[in-house]
Symmetry: D2
Subunit: 152 residues, 4 copies
Amino acid sequence: MDKQIVNGFSSNELQELFHKAHLAKHRAHCPYSQFRVGAALLTTTGKIYTGCNVENAAYPLSTCAERTAVVKAVSDGEKSFKKIAITSDVEIGFTGPCGSCRQTLAEFGLDMDIYLISPNNEAKMYTLRDLLPIAFTPQDLQKPRASHDIIL
Amino acid sequence: MDKQIVNGFSSNELQELFHKAHLAKHRAHCPYSQFRVGAALLTTTGKIYTGCNVENAAYPLSTCAERTAVVKAVSDGEKSFKKIAITSDVEIGFTGPCGSCRQTLAEFGLDMDIYLISPNNEAKMYTLRDLLPIAFTPQDLQKPRASHDIIL
Amino acid sequence: MDKQIVNGFSSNELQELFHKAHLAKHRAHCPYSQFRVGAALLTTTGKIYTGCNVENAAYPLSTCAERTAVVKAVSDGEKSFKKIAITSDVEIGFTGPCGSCRQTLAEFGLDMDIYLISPNNEAKMYTLRDLLPIAFTPQDLQKPRASHDIIL
Amino acid sequence: MDKQIVNGFSSNELQELFHKAHLAKHRAHCPYSQFRVGAALLTTTGKIYTGCNVENAAYPLSTCAERTAVVKAVSDGEKSFKKIAITSDVEIGFTGPCGSCRQTLAEFGLDMDIYLISPNNEAKMYTLRDLLPIAFTPQDLQKPRASHDIIL
Ligand SMILES: [Zn+2]
Ligand SMILES: [Zn+2]
Ligand SMILES: [Zn+2]
Ligand SMILES: [Zn+2]
């Protein structure tokens, strides 16, 4: 898997993306987990949509920062994503997105970069393709179906 | 249950809310259900956040218009909601929000109005309290727990 | 709304259902909420399927006791439900099912009874129709759609 | 990533697991996607729990075959999983589990084998660790949190 430490790099685009992910984290509604997450999603048109986790007393109704960013983009007419930056309060190491968020992003293509950012702005870069191998995608629903299976 | 046909009323606030719900519907990403939904959420601070449904090839990862609007508001720092307007393409009658959306809204209080709007802008008004009786709310997690149950 | 205190009643069927709901609660995987829930679902064919909540470190992936019972029944070929009993550790009053569970049950018909049971086996009875008014059901997906809306 | 074509192998344990996954698929409640999935989960205690997808008119309330199998096991007191076999009607190639199912399994440990099976009983083997790299796990919730972030 292609990993890359991103640190001290000079891209203004990335720095803005990271900054917005940190800011978004401060909006987290997480009275149950106390685990704040922020995300910033860059579209191929150059727009940035941010998100935080929004929890619910009925835990399954909670949603993640990454998905908040995605639905904001889609409801604004943007469905083509280039990069997402994700951060939490975890001090050491890099916290990966949950499987649901990987799947939500995969709806819109596997060719995007995922930056995991620490609170002190260190980052590691992955691709969505790396993080969701053998992904279930919209194409899977279109594939020919067998009319029988082995047990019949 | 307190219901009210809302038609030909003059509130500019409501008319704007309904208009934005209709517009939001056009952003729906629903290649699987072909069932477009739009929502517009009014906060007590007077802001409006809109949402559409955003589906996923893995159906459980789909989300609804109402929840899209809620997470947009929360990630913008708004957690106090006054009214939500919801519309779909269903021509006759009024389509209620799914149970998940009622629960998502309930996290932020049961005292809000829910307007179900038809494509030709007729509406019916409910309260969230009406639509989610005996609601499970954040308070339920705080209640004293029994140390034993009958089977012990 | 039709409510009924069920206490000291003599139905063996209900007593077995309640007993199994209490027992199911003890299987709850809830290291995050510490909020145990048990459910027991009676099919129209007379079978009982039990469930507990199963939480996940990524909170949105958690699921509820009621839905656990439903998927157990469906994966066993049973889709027609008569009654469900739900219990938690909350000592005083009756805790309602979350909106998601009401919606999950509604897929299979609104004419079922929901018994909320306290740890000391007191119960209150509702119908699903009561608890999910103006329900979104499979029929809603079949209704005629408007080809235009007001904003066009 | 460690992949392995599993074909013509002789393990009775695996053959039973695969057979039960095929059978489980026939229970799928999928009137919306028409995409049947079956799963069979082997615990470290040697029990097999099967599951199918159970969809809902409100698509987000749908659940997957793999998660059905997991909650059945957990509600039966089993939380240690060894292998899962997953099959659908897709004729060519191997269909991966959705991100949500990978996450649901990850709650109970990353060291399990995932067998993707075709309708004609060909299989490919992965590990959960392979399919959910940089997984978000229960340990992530325990890690020390930074008291500040870069933007403060
Ligand atoms: Zn997530
Ligand atoms: Zn909904
Ligand atoms: Zn529930
Ligand atoms: Zn899945």
